[in-house]
Symmetry: C2
Amino acid sequence: MIDDIDVSILKQLQKDARLSFAEVGRTIKLSASAVRERILKMEDTGVIKKYGIEIDHSKVGYDLEAFILVKVFHGKLKLLLSTIPSISEIEKAYRITGNQNIHLKVILKNQLHLQQLIDKLMPFGDTHTLLILSDVSSNDS
Amino acid sequence: MIDDIDVSILKQLQKDARLSFAEVGRTIKLSASAVRERILKMEDTGVIKKYGIEIDHSKVGYDLEAFILVKVFHGKLKLLLSTIPSISEIEKAYRITGNQNIHLKVILKNQLHLQQLIDKLMPFGDTHTLLILSDVSSNDS
DNA sequence: ATTGAAACCAGCAGGTA
DNA sequence: TACCTGCTGGTTTCAAT
């Protein structure tokens, strides 16, 4: 379904999603059209879910990032799930195993903003907030 | 530093980072070169950190995703931080507040793979693993 | 997977306000 | 400074091989 050439294409796009088909092809000795067809196929099959950008939120006025773990009240899960898309502060949301059942990554302006978000989440469950101090990934996979 | 036009450019790129300058410009009534200059400036100032792709890992043989919270042993933090980049399973790593001090997002093939990773992390601290059941973001911000 | 051709875009120069 | 137009070479796209 996916071969070594596809993997090396994916790795290049992970580093820079705006590389042209021609550029990708040059480094793996393939024509631009061949690269294009492989990438289109990976889009169609859903291997590539989307092309996105990473923003430094602290440079646009959002100085606080946090994880919020929610232990959802009995019967409130469906309502919370349908509410999540309307909360712009939530960057990513997952159902998880464990004592808490929802894991949120949130982007906020400041502590007041965090407080307001927690207030908004309170009707759905008990929250536990972990502030993000710094990104320590430095991941060039 | 950043105005409404920049914000709308960022939103478009978040949806599709491969949009051409011309395409972005068309939807906001701006020339391609104006869009290009704005984007270059946001790259230079670090607002845009990178262009990346989101991969559906389950379609390439990695069926397990998890968060691992690590309560790092006294004196082991620096060593862990320097080890993290060499662990390919770690997609993202953060220092956080709370009882645990490191938050990892990991991509794994299966439970055995998870076990091996936890074994690798054990020397650095006590781990607490939260399996990801599903993505419930549906976030078209 | 490749090539070839038409449409399109990136990058840059030079210009306006 | 922020935007524009016009130009050129490279790129995307699609069809044929």
